[in-house]
């Protein structure tokens, strides 16, 4: 008990010191540096055109229009978040479902049927797996090049563009692997759709 009495003031003061150091000074320093060096990235990579915030380049949205490129399957959440006026905001969550269950088999069958019906031009091509699965965050902003290529004929038909024009937009929105090794090649779906709608211009 006597040792405890001796130890307590040291422990409390040291804890206080670390709270200031790691909680306030460290967090503050990182915030300051990040805001100074990388203001766009540290504030959510939001795409703003003529004062309108057209989404974050890093957050997926749901697209069902034939004239838009579709992304990963989303479980939308409209119940959790509201803006300051009380209007519901859209967010999304992962499915956390087992890919080895019968329930899942039925779900995927439904999704493939829908894709087959919307993309008659690709009737003989197996459907790229990203298009029938939901992502880890539920908010994946990307699809693979294969999944983008699969949709080009449909988008071309729905928008009246040639397939080459759509393919050009897709390649303008593609990112390769980091250093050619790490991660995967991706296509940013929001950027593609903003270009298809004429809001963003291909660089």
């Amino acid at each position: 008990m006597k040792t405890m009495k001796n130890i307590f003031p040291r422990a409390a003061l040291l804890f206080l010191a670390f709270t200031v150091l790691c909680g306030i000074l460290y967090t503050g320093a990182v915030t300051g540096l990040a805001q100074l060096l990388f203001p766009h990235q540290a504030n959510g990579s939001i795409i703003e055109v003529n004062g309108v915030k057209y989404g974050s380049a890093l957050l997926g949205q749901q697209y069902t229009d034939d004239a838009h490129m579709w992304g990963r399957i989303m479980q939308l959440d409209v119940m959790t978040y509201r803006d300051e006026n009380g209007e519901a905001l859209l967010y999304a969550a992962p499915s956390n479902i087992s890919p080895a269950s019968e329930e899942y088999q039925a779900l995927v069958a439904e999704r493939t049927a829908k894709l087959r019906a919307s993309n008659p031009q690709m009737a003989d091509t197996p459907i790229p797996v990203d298009l029938v699965t939901s992502s880890g965050s539920g908010l994946d902003p990307h699809i693979s090049p294969a999944a983008a290529t699969y949709q080009i004929p449909r988008i071309a038909a729905a928008t009246g563009r040639t397939e080459a024009e759509v393919a050009e937009i897709v390649s303008a929105c593609s990112t390769g692997k980091f250093l050619g090794i790490f991660g995967e090649e991706t296509v940013n779906v929001l950027r593609v759709n903003l270009m298809l709608d004429g809001i963003l211009q291909p660089a």
Partner: protein
């Protein structure tokens, strides 16, 4: 083939190239030697001693060191618990989030004080920025530092001859935070922010949706609805839906994420700033941040193996323990990768769905992000469960049965395949003591390790350290299995539902913190029982390790003779792996047979 394996090899290579020099740096810091950062950080260190009245020269024996660890953790516990309960009344809360329930606050507190970072809550909707920065980020630092400090007490136990002293906990803690964790994380956090991880104190943003969605008057999503954008009316099959409204904006969470993400990766804490952890695009936006975050998971645990070798003046010993861990890790990555790349028959739909790796990652992409693919997700899954980190960049609940089983097994082995910072290595050293004892029995010699005789006192504590995790997991999940309300927390049915519950207690017992995240853990029973399991599995091994250290320090060093069992050769590495697997497999085979194995055989039938 080579093309598929290549990224995995690169991930491992990057890790090793960074870990070896860091190991040397940590040894220098902890032995009070000069480093290239000492001119800058030395004064900071001394300033903290002055401020808190710590005497640098004071030495602590086993009892005082243990009491300091426990009391320091206790103070942190009380502070974090109160901070959460009061967050609704405190500043730093632009979203105006209220306080969590007492049982959720207890669970979260136990979770972060024990370096587990199990999360029964979702960060963006439950915690204020103040709680995240002042509470969780601070615990991420100090709980990691506590683990490393206890490891060094054990190292001194091996090094001291006929002494009682194990060093000074306050000095250990301060050196680790000031010289190792802070500079490393400062650099890492700024790099992550540059990569796109948010770092600010603004309230959440909302942005325009390209395609608005319709919701009913009750706020539920209306599927198949057609929205007239001019009149804002919603129709389904031609009939107008009364009371329906249109959601036109998306929620974009903000906050000081990068600073917390850096330390949750390097300190093997793992608690995400956002609910879905490093799968969230604003927490881990691209392959560059993924490489940084993933390497950070194992950076310090791997480095500590080399630190250990240098610190006990037996580099071969450090390397032998590293090899035992590394071989297990490589096998685990291989198993997960093959299983995930193959996918499941339920997903393949007789070839209608393309699972090949041409133009895409392919395989089981359910619960995985496109930018990470199979290689980035499988390697992360193995790293995070081998280390007791617990952050995820893909949903383990949606892994294939066998891939998910490997992640579970890595935790059940006691988190000694590198494990948490410090605690993984002291856990493995307890297994090494067990191994020399069993090997000693086989050849009929007195067991010894690093020149210290291993006697009944050390053996008793080693067994407790090694068995704390299996006992905590099996008792916890066993009790939970007979509580009826737990069934309502399951997201999947059948064998996979059982796996969700087993995973939760494995994660808590291994102080890991990852989850089969469909499992709704925010109930009174689960919050309390999982909280208690985490505290037990953290502090019993700490006490045991310090007791062993205290006893070893008082012994004399025995000279190495021809009859000494080598603890640095291939035979020892093999034996050590064998003992780790034996304890883990025997404890958990029945439970795994009911969960993932049953699911696997059911799915291919």
């Amino acid at each position: 083939m080579l093309q598929t394996i290549f990224p995995y090899l690169c991930y491992l290579a990057v890790l090793l190239v960074l870990a070896v020099p860091l190991g040397r740096y940590i040894k220098k810091v902890m032995f009070g030697e000069k480093t290239f950062l000492s001119p800058l950080l030395g004064p900071c260190e001394n300033f903290i001693y002055k401020l808190s009245g710590v005497c640098k020269e004071e030495q602590m024996d086993f009892k005082k060191y243990t009491a300091s660890v426990l009391l320091f953790s206790g103070i942190g516990f009380v502070f974090l618990f109160l901070l959460q309960l009061l967050q609704g009344f405190l500043p730093g809360n632009p979203q105006g989030i209220g306080s969590p329930s007492w049982h959720l606050a207890f669970n979260t507190t136990a979770s972060f004080v024990t370096n587990t970072n199990w999360q029964a809550y979702s960060g963006e909707s439950t915690l204020s920025y103040l709680t995240q920065a002042l509470g969780l980020t601070v615990q991420n630092f100090v709980s990691a530092a506590t683990g490393i400090a206890v490891l060094f007490a054990l190292i001194r136990g091996f090094n001291q001859v006929k002494e009682k002293h194990l060093g000074n906990f306050w000095v250990d803690l301060t050196r680790i935070v000031v010289h190792i964790l802070l500079p490393l994380n400062l650099v890492l956090a700024v790099a992550l922010a540059g990569g796109g991880v948010v770092q600010n104190f603004k309230g959440a943003e909302s942005v325009t949706l390209l395609e608005p969605v319709a919701i009913s008057a009750e706020g539920e999503l209306l599927s198949g609805a057609v929205i007239d954008s001019k009149t804002n009316t919603v129709t389904i099959n031609g009939t107008q839906v009364p009371g329906a409204t249109v959601v036109t904006r998306e929620f974009v969470p903000m906050g000081p994420a990068a600073s917390q993400v850096a330390i949750k990766q390097t300190g093997t804490n793992g608690g995400g700033f956002f609910g879905v952890n490093s799968a969230h695009p604003l927490e881990n936006p691209n392959a560059f941040t993924n490489l940084l975050e993933m390497t950070s998971i194992l950076l310090i645990p791997v480095a500590l193996c080399f630190t250990f070798g240098e610190a006990v003046k037996n580099k071969k010993q450090g390397f032998a323990i590293f090899m035992a861990m590394f071989l297990c890790l490589v096998v685990a990555i291989g198993c997960i990768a093959v299983s995930e790349q193959s996918g499941t028959v339920q997903l393949a739909q007789n070839g209608t769905v393309n699972l090949s790796a041409v133009g895409q990652a392919g395989g089981n992409m359910e619960g995985k992000e496109c930018r990470f693919g199979i290689a980035g997700s499988s390697t992360w899954a193995a790293y995070t469960t081998a280390a007791s980190n617990g952050s995820v960049n893909a949903m383990h609940d949606s892994f294939t049965p066998l891939g998910g089983m490997v992640t579970m097994l890595l935790m059940q082995l006691g988190e000694v395949i590198f494990g948490g910072v410090g605690c993984g290595l002291y856990g493995m050293l307890a297994f090494a003591i067990l191994t020399v004892f069993i090997a000693g029995l086989m050849v009929g010699r007195t067991p010894e390790f690093l020149g210290k005789k291993i006697e009944p006192y050390e053996m008793k504590w080693s067994v407790l350290v090694c068995l704390a995790t299996p006992v905590a997991i099996l008792a916890g999940s066993g009790i939970a299995a007979i509580v009826p309300e737990v069934a309502q927390s399951l997201n999947n049915g059948g064998a996979h539902g059982f796996s969700e519950m087993l995973y939760a207690y494995s994660s808590a017992g291994g102080n890991n913190g990852s989850a089969f995240a469909g499992f709704n853990a925010n109930t009174v029973f689960l919050n309390l029982s999982i909280g208690i399991v985490m505290l037990f599995a953290r502090f019993l091994p700490i006490i045991g390790t310090l007791a062993i250290a205290g006893s070893l320090a008082q012994k004399k060093k025995i000279a190495v003779t021809a009859g000494t069992l080598s603890t640095t050769n291939g035979m020892f590495v093999f034996l050590l792996i064998f003992i780790v697997l034996l304890v883990g497999a025997l404890s958990f085979f029945p439970a795994l047979a009911l969960g993932p194995l049953a699911e696997f055989f059911g799915s291919i039938a």
